[in-house]
Symmetry: C2
Subunit: 337 residues, 2 copies
């Protein structure tokens, strides 16, 4: 059984039997009631009301929390606390967001304190990819591991690294930015300001961008047909579907994206030699097409680490990753136990 | 003050006031008497007698240890134990070397037990780059850090990663093989069997190899003149010296090697965000020419980690790194203290 964590300075309700997990993203917010075994009892999900500013978003998440308690008949006294996962960068000491690219207006917003204020319950904040890594270790695909790398491959590429059962936070809580390793120095520009980052080569956005560029030169490609609309409706899923139909251009684009994804994962394995690598995020919906190729490249490239002992597996928490990850912040075992 | 570590299963002499550090490399062996503050009191260094096999090498290191005790008048009872650093791969559980490329004949050799047998003192074994990382954290350039990356840039490129004051060992004790991250997928072949590894791009061997190839096509290059002999006398130092004289070919070779060294270090910083990166090994003798360029590239490439808070510095232990690193295995503070 998982024990409620005692956290310095914050008084969680140690008699609580549930935690609330809050997932704050640029496109959606989600709130879930989670039991001590990481099971989601009830949840709500809706678009992020960016128009109402940070204060409005925060208030809405507090309302959603209340609504879930009402729905389930769980009383406030049964709640141990609230875990919050949000897109970085964050100042975890101050419980604050720092110029998050997907949450305009949230710079310097003291999210942790505000959630505590709006709900009257104690809260803990963490980078969303880190929270998901923790959730996977505690309740998902990494349950047997104490050393793992979690990567989310979606519109962007993020990650969380766990060593000895603990998240690696790094200077300024900035560790785990695995999407921004340079893998092709003269490669495409990345949103971060660098060139040839893994994210600029292998994310959903990178795949869609590349496809939009190429369909012009290759009018016979099936990509536009699958997109059922103009160039603007092309996304990574469309490119994967065109590749499934055998379209040469789509296959080449997917192949190159997965090549660099394999190189990136291989480099992390070479440095860390984790017990497992867990991949989540929208692109992993491609299943075997993605995993088989990535495993192949890792095997081809990594010679000094026993890769056959390091499974590369899909995330186990699926859609609940954000909520369970956030909740797991309060469910961590005390270090050393 | 550093405390002697209590290690499960092994009985170190807890009343000891010194430790012996043994450094076993493919070209030389070194033995040193080190006090509890990491200071080398006395040391011996000589070529590895590879001709006499693992048994002979082991016996010789035991003799050197005795000789040092005689020289210094330190009694066996004052020795806490012996730390051994050796080139990987190793099986640390069995205290054994596993097909080390630079130590032919040592495959499966139970080095730890044999040293204990020959000396009658308790011993601990570790990968040499890991031992050096630990030594740097305890007594060298990383004394204020608990999270650091150590890299040795020499004929090969190796490393050790420390998180939360502890070495990251990984599956099969294979973590920290930072020289074998793929940075140029179609790059030169690497000894490990892959292509375009950092080691194949930026090590001393890689620089020398590249220079040997290029002098044929560029007979006016100063490299051959500086080498004062045939192609075979070209090594990395020669290329650095020719570059210092302004030779275009040498400058280009050095520049490309340092470019990839910067990319590799940048990628590690992006993933780990350590408090500091410490560089040791022969090539760091190039001083500012190396460090200034590497720092420039890291700054250019790493955008999401506060690199200006992460110093990239020369190793602090210099020539004693091997001995002090090995000795530090016995001088680690108990975890959590």
């Amino acid at each position: 059984m998982t024990a409620i964590r005692k956290t310095a300075g914050l008084r969680f309700n140690r008699k609580g039997k549930y935690v609330l997990g809050l997932d704050l993203g640029g496109t959606k917010i989600a709130v879930g009631l989670v039991n001590l075994k990481g099971k989601v009892i009830n949840s709500l999900r809706e678009p992020t009301p960016l128009g109402s500013g940070p204060e409005g978003v925060c208030e809405r998440m507090a309302e959603m929390s209340k609504e879930i308690l009402l729905r389930t008949g769980v009383g406030r006294r049964e709640i141990a606390g609230i875990g919050i996962g949000a897109g970085g960068p964050l100042d975890l000491k101050k419980g604050m967001l720092l110029s998050p690219p997907n949450l305009p207006g949230f710079h310097g917003y003291p999210l942790k304190d505000k959630i505590e204020e709006y709900t009257g319950m104690h809260a803990a904040l963490e980078n969303d990819a880190n929270a998901a890594a923790l959730g996977e270790m505690m309740f998902g695909a990494g349950r047997k591991a104490k050393n793992l790398i979690y990567m989310t491959v979606s519109t962007g590429i993020g990650g969380g690294i766990i060593v000895d059962g603990k998240l690696v936070h790094g200077v300024g809580w900035s560790a785990g930015e695995v999407g921004h390793m340079t893998l092709k120095p003269d490669g495409p520009e990345c949103n971060c300001g660098n060139r040839g980052c893994l994210e600029a080569l292998s994310s959903g956005t990178a795949i869609a961008k590349r496809a939009k560029e190429e369909v012009g030169e290759n009018p016979s490609s099936l990509i536009l047909k699958v997109a059922e609309g103009g160039k603007n409706t092309i996304d990574a899923e469309v490119v994967f579907r065109a590749a499934d139909l055998g379209d040469t251009v789509a296959c080449r684009i997917i192949d190159e994206a997965l090549f660099y994804l394999g190189i990136g994962i291989g480099n992390l394995i070479t440095a860390f030699s984790p017990e497992t690598v867990i991949l989540g995020g929208g692109l992993t919906g491609a299943g075997d097409r993605l995993f088989v190729r990535v495993r192949e490249i890792v095997k081809e490239r990594v010679k000094l680490v026993p890769v056959n002992k390091i499974p590369i597996v899909p995330a186990g928490l699926g859609e609940s990753a954000g909520i369970v990850g956030a909740a797991s912040l309060l469910l961590q075992k005390p270090v050393g136990v």
